[in-house]
């Protein structure tokens, strides 16, 4: 069922991609007016924000096959860079978006150095460790980060004289960043850089033998993913006006990770779908109070059971494992052939 819908959507999109894109962008621009509820637009803001975060993680995990489970660390760095520089020194938000991105990608580069020799789970634990280290430093370096008190009163960005504060205005910042992210990332992954990433994911040794400098491309990959996480962090800080280290725990990293996987790893739209689903579900189940996390956990497991390749992942994707094949029912055994 899903498969057919999926295939049809894809075929349709391929035929009319420009038209569809324009319509989608128009709808997204008009959405806050159509909805006219700060609360729902707030959720949309979160969806967009996590989309880019999940998308940037997907670049690392889905495309180059490295295994980062501490993405919250990059997010944290971006957010603190903006928050500290904007509140203390009054730097311009738009400039800070770029600065935070670049700074985070430099940290990404640093992190990629020890991890170049590591694969799979060894790499995972290192990224997890880095994420914790960054968080704990943010918690303890009181003179700069405010320590456990966090950074308060982060100024809202100004655009053409308008103060951008509150979900309905901030929505456009998130939207612009998300569109930019998709646009640029699409171009990168369809180029030789993207191919090099994928080849490293598939077989690093073979890639090397074909002249792909795997260390270089793995570092670039980390930096690219970190860049966007940093940009999103920077965009996020003034939105909530207050940041503290406990916003960037491992759970946050796992959360982003599960969005990538629920949506579909290694696909461009997957993380967007994942973010949408997870944010909506967690919102809808708010009434369940203490059972909410239970519901969320069950959702994650069910997703893995029903669609391990993610909602957007293809049916015949290798991520689907053998389950797809198993689905082809065996004919009943004929008896009496002997």
């Amino acid at each position: 069922m899903i498969e057919n819908v999926h295939r049809k959507i894809k075929a349709f999109y391929e035929r009319h991609s420009i038209k569809v894109n324009i319509i989608l962008i128009l709808i997204s621009i008009l959405l806050p007016y159509i909805i006219n509820s700060n609360y729902i637009v707030g959720i949309l803001c979160r969806v967009l924000m996590y989309s880019v975060l999940a998308g940037s993680l997907n670049i690392i995990n889905g495309y180059s096959g490295q295994f980062n489970i501490g993405h919250a660390g990059f997010f944290c760095i971006g957010a603190y860079t903006e928050a500290v520089l904007a509140t203390r020194y009054g730097w311009n938000f738009w400039l800070l978006l770029l600065i935070a991105g670049i700074f985070t990608s430099l940290v990404g580069f640093l992190i990629s150095l020890p991890t170049l020799r590591l694969r799979g789970i060894y790499l995972a634990i290192v990224t997890l460790g880095f994420s914790e280290i960054i968080r704990i430093i943010a918690l303890n370096w009181t003179s700069v980060t405010g320590g456990p008190m966090g950074v308060k009163g982060i100024p809202s960005p100004i655009f053409l004289g308008i103060r951008i504060s509150g979900s309905s205005r901030y929505y456009y910042i998130f939207l612009a960043l998300a569109i930019l992210f998709i646009f640029i990332t699409n171009r990168v992954i369809t180029s030789r850089i993207g191919r090099a990433w994928i080849s490293i994911r598939e077989d690093e040794l073979a890639a090397k033998s074909l002249g792909v400098e795997s260390s270089f491309y793995k570092s670039i990959n980390f930096m690219y993913g970190a860049f966007w996480a940093g940009v999103m962090g920077a965009a996020y800080a003034p939105y909530y006006k207050f940041i503290a280290s406990d916003m960037f725990t491992l759970d946050e990293g796992f959360n982003i990770l599960s969005m990538v996987i629920i949506g579909g790893q290694g696909t461009l739209v997957g993380p967007f779908v994942g973010s949408l689903i997870v944010n909506i579900i967690t919102e809808v189940f708010r009434f369940a109070a203490q059972y909410r996390m239970v519901v969320y956990a069950i959702l994650i497991i069910t997703m893995m059971w029903l669609r391990p390749q993610g909602l957007v992942g293809a049916y015949d994707s290798i991520l689907a494992g053998n389950r797809a094949r198993r689905k082809l029912k065996r004919k009943p055994v004929k008896v009496g052939d002997k």
């Binding site: 015949d316 053998n322 094949r325 082809l328 065996r330 004919k331 055994v333 052939d337 002997k338």
Partner: protein
């Protein structure tokens, strides 16, 4: 001894095997030949139930083993030396060989050392490499290990998937002699070989597979003489 009836296998939407049937009698050497992608490997995997069958039945010693699990099939006395060697890279040579005995309680309990001796004499190379990790062996050494491991459980039927792959001519000779010896000891062999000439020579009967179907069948000598076979598979 082994009877395959109307076996079909699909990979996703690809038909790899299309209703093939054949049988293997006790004490015979049967060979499957065919071009790349004909479905030979798939046939063996389906018999061992490593890939899911789409339809069809497999009988072994008068027993319907179609839905048996892989390890149960092994315990009945079928040893499968898979394509691509599939040795355990982090086990040593000796441990790999011991792993080969899990399918046969008798050997595992009482005859382990005899059996080890036996395969070491067969492949002296392995004795030299006894404590080396399986993953660091050379290609041919791995192939020897895979065959030796398949022999460890003293099977009634041994299924060999391209055993000569990557072996030096001198060893290939030994392998074929070995296959004949296995037959002499009353065992049954199901052999896949690219080296069709040699395979057909020692085989009692053979089946030619093409695109997942049995194209021709006959005794070894018949097939060697068959014009189609000579042209397509013997390169003559």
């Amino acid at each position: 001894m082994l009877k395959v009836i109307d076996l079909s296998v699909q990979y996703g939407y690809i038909n790899a095997l299309n209703s093939i049937s054949f049988n293997v009698n006790k004490g015979e050497i049967i060979t499957l030949i065919g071009g790349n992608g004909a479905g030979k490997t798939t046939t063996l995997m389906a018999i061992s139930n490593v890939v899911q069958k789409y339809s069809g039945n497999v009988y072994f010693k008068e027993m319907n083993i179609t839905d048996f699990q892989s390890h149960e099939i092994v315990h009945l006395g079928i040893s499968h030396v898979p394509e691509g060697r599939k040795i355990f890279p982090a086990l040593t040579v000796k441990e790999n060989l011991i792993a080969g005995t899990f399918g046969n309680k008798r050997i595992r309990k009482n005859e382990l050392n005899n059996k080890l001796e036996e395969v070491y004499t067969l492949f002296p190379r392995l004795r030299e490499r006894i404590n080396q990790g399986g993953g660091t062996l050379s290609g041919g050494e791995q192939q020897m290990l895979a065959i030796a491991r398949g022999l460890m459980m003293d099977p009634d039927l041994i299924m060999l998937d391209e055993p000569s792959l990557g072996l030096a001519p001198i060893i290939i000779e030994e392998i074929f002699e070995l296959i004949l010896r296995i037959k002499k000891s009353g065992k049954t062999v199901l052999l896949i070989e690219q080296n069709a000439a040699m395979a057909l020579q020692i085989a009692d009967r053979g089946y030619v597979l093409e695109r997942g179907k049995v194209l021709i069948e006959g005794t070894g000598t018949e097939l060697i003489k068959d014009e189609r076979v000579r042209k397509a598979y013997l390169g003559i």
